[in-house]
Amino acid sequence: MAVAVRLALIVLLLLGPGGWGHTEPSRDSLREELVITPLPSGDVAATFQFRTRWDSELQREEGTDHYFLRYAVLPREVVCTENLTPWKKLLPCSSKAGLSVLLKADRLFHTSYHSQAVHIRPVCRNARCTSISWELRQTLSVVFDAFVTGQGKKDWSLFRMFSRTLTEPCPLAAESRVYVDITSSKQDNETLEVNPPPLTTYQDVILGTQKTYAVYDLLDTAVINNSRNLNLQLKWKRPPENEAPPVPFLHAQRYVSGYGLQSGELSTLLYNTHPYRAFPVLLLDTVPWYLRLYVHTLTITSKGKENKPSYIHYQPAQDRLQPHLLEMLIQLPANSVTKVSIQFERALLKWTEYTPDPNHGFYVSPSVLSALVPSIVASKPVDWEESPLFNSLFPGSDSSSYFVRLYTEPLLVNLPTPDFSMPYNVICLTCTVVAVCYGSFYNLLTRTFHIEEPSKGGLAKRLANLIRRARGVPPL
């Protein structure tokens, strides 16, 4: 009886002010998104994005203190299921419900491109940014290769890509959507067919161009039909024309030149293919300490002329403590190639500092380019809360340009390696010399000789002599 009364009280308290089932989405929310982009080559790019946001109770000081900013990079890491497992554990629904059921390792790593990231950043809640919310975004991008995994066929479906279909949204998600890029289909009618047909479409200026997306909202009960699963299918009505894909306005390349194991040159080529607009690029280079950079040989040339950067910050390396840090803001003139080159010398490491496979080479981390690239179409100012996640990963404030962050390729540089068998050789040789030369000398000096009487003969000899005396033969 008393227990029942207590239970009733508990239920009343829970249903009290603001307790049970309030309708506004709370700010600690999860949004998940999958964007499928068919590429002109027949491949398909899929990008997952999961955003968790929560309010922080701390009050911050105004302004960010730059003394506490750190940049660290691991030039090469083999990414495999062992990286995906802890990444999946950060998701509220793990891989049980929602879009994360599609994250199957054996399909995600059998792709021509795989990238996963975790971004954590503060979002200002008021104008002076003294109170903040934290935002955790997890992104995973893969490009499925038509010929490796698709056996040459260019019809895609969720089941063929991920070996799973979508059944239900994550119960903790405030929004759970799939976007399919149907821009090419809207332009030349009937190139690409999406099945089941979308209930809504979304149009916006993404990365400077006007794009149209078919939207499937998993929280909308009409989308997941009676068969309780959603298997999106993309069919090409006409084979995609073999025209060259549009060249992006900014792309970059990096390489090492030179010969021998003494010195070399690091070069970065920055391409600006926009016909008439110039834009700034922030180039961040981290070079390990064992490539000693000659900063006086740093040259930046565009169209044959020297290009002075608007801002340079260089922090020299300290042996075995920190790498070189070079950060420059370069204005790329329109329709040009800018070459940034610097010469270096290779250092000899101590023999215990080499990796177990030093002849493979040592990696140099990629340069990071951050740029505000001019858009083709001006974007309208949007409310970041309403726009999809892929639009607000790098929100731009200026409608005439969009923000892009590029990474060049990592480089592999050979360092002069010593002969690792030398310690063993030295030990063998020294021990042999000591044993033979010093050992024999020592024996000669310290060995004493003394005469030893021959033994009178053992029992056998005495018995033999007895028998010989009996026979009359002279004894031994």
């Binding site: 829970l14 083999v78 299921t81 608007s310 801002y311 177990p356």
Partner: protein, 395 residues
């Protein structure tokens, strides 16, 4: 007369017999209780699984370690209690025709890499130093929990090592080696720090028995795939992948373990019989003289699984709601609903700010050794040349 005196004697004899039989019944119950008492006294299980070989042609060592990892996880030991060290990546290696898989049987029957593998020490981190630090617990302060062996004196630890070895040593990544004496000393350190209750050491390398010859700490049981002077051989190559997939000893151990479930009562004597010479070509060996219990009383799940002894109780506990916490959380929800302002992201590339920033004031440091020495030299030369009388113009 004699018959009369005989009967009480028979009666007493009968009474004595009955008393004896009751006593023996009580004794057997006491024996059962005593046996329960001497069952393994561990409360948690840990596993340290090490693959020490690098390069694609040593695929089988990674497959060995992953198959033991898979069995141990299947029988209940969670990832937080497993320290997995793989010296190279085979699953996403460029030479692997099926990425994100490591197979143990040819024709790709069993993918031991799985979907939720967590590797704690990978690639260059698998060194003798790190291995000994994990065992003894002397890790640097910033080491994450998943990389530590947080065992206590009631932990049963399984240590599995595989790679290339010789008489008295095991090679780590082609560049260094660990000797059997170092390993024995590490286990003694673990014993003295009470870091294990019982330890099972399994090694699958050539001449593996030499690695357990030097153990001297109590409560260690050891198994090896081959005796001193013998080589451990690999099982079968796969024509599609192009390398040998598993070593023989671990292949048959995996087959044996696939039949174990958390409730099975199989004991260690069965594990000693796995892979006789006809199948393995080498002679597996074992060492139990340091172990206090009889191997036939040791269950496989004492080391490979994580079996908890559960006691079911019918007591009930009623939970009281904490009114203070509930009221404050309700208040927070109300406050959040009031403050619905638009959130603002920071500027991604503030070009104007970057160009026009003031150069950062660096702290002034007094001149260091070289500069001081240089100036001292210059001043000394000056005064030696021109004489000391110029000093008075300065001071």
């Amino acid at each position: 007369m004699a018959a009369n005196s005989f009967r009480p004697r028979v009666l007493t004899a009968l009474a004595g017999l009955l008393a004896l039989s009751f006593g023996s019944l009580a004794d057997s119950r006491i024996e059962d209780q005593a046996e329960q008492f001497f069952r393994s006294g561990h409360t948690n299980n840990w596993a340290v699984l090490v693959c020490t070989s690098r390069f694609w042609f040593n695929y089988r060592h990674v497959a060995n370690t992953l198959s033991v990892y898979r069995s141990v996880k299947r029988l209940g030991i969670p990832d937080s209690h497993i320290v997995l060290m793989l010296a190279d990546d085979m699953a996403c290696n460029a030479r692997n025709p099926k990425p994100a898989t490591v197979f143990s049987h040819k024709n790709m029957e069993l993918n031991v890499y799985g979907d939720d593998v967590e590797v704690d020490y990978r690639s260059y981190e698998v060194t003798v130093e790190n291995f000994l630090r994990v065992l003894t617990g002397r890790v640097p302060p910033g080491t994450p929990r998943s990389k530590r062996l947080l065992s206590d004196d009631r932990s049963n630890i399984l240590i599995y090592m595989t790679g290339h070895g010789g008489n008295g040593f095991l090679k780590f990544q082609d560049s260094e080696e660990i000797t059997n004496i170092e390993l024995a000393d590490a286990f003694e350190q673990m014993w003295q720090k009470r870091r294990y209750n019982e330890l099972l050491f399994i090694i699958d390398t050539c001449q593996g028995a030499s690695m357990y010859e030097r153990f001297y700490s109590p409560n260690i049981m050891a198994l090896a795939s081959s005796q001193v002077g013998e080589d451990s051989l690999s099982h079968q190559p796969d024509p599609a992948i192009g390398v040998h997939l598993m070593d023989r000893y671990t292949f048959y151990v995996l087959e044996f373990l696939e039949e174990i479930n958390p409730a099975s009562q199989t004991n260690m004597n069965d594990l000693f019989q796995v892979c006789p010479k006809s199948l393995c070509v080498s002679t597996p060996g074992h060492r139990t003289d340091l172990f206090q219990r009889d191997p036939k009383n040791v269950l496989i799940t004492d080391f490979f699984g994580s079996v908890r002894k559960v006691e079911i109780t019918t007591e009930t506990i009623s939970l009281q709601p904490d009114l203070g916490i509930m009221e404050s959380s309700n208040k927070e929800d109300q406050i959040d609903e009031e403050r619905m302002e638009p959130l603002k992201y920071a500027e991604q590339l503030p070009v104007a700010q970057i160009i026009h920033q003031k150069p950062k004031l660096k702290d002034w440091h007094p001149p260091g050794g070289f500069i001081l020495g240089l100036w001292a030299l210059i001043i000394m030369v000056f005064f030696k040349t021109y004489g000391i009388k110029h000093m008075k113009f300065i001071f």
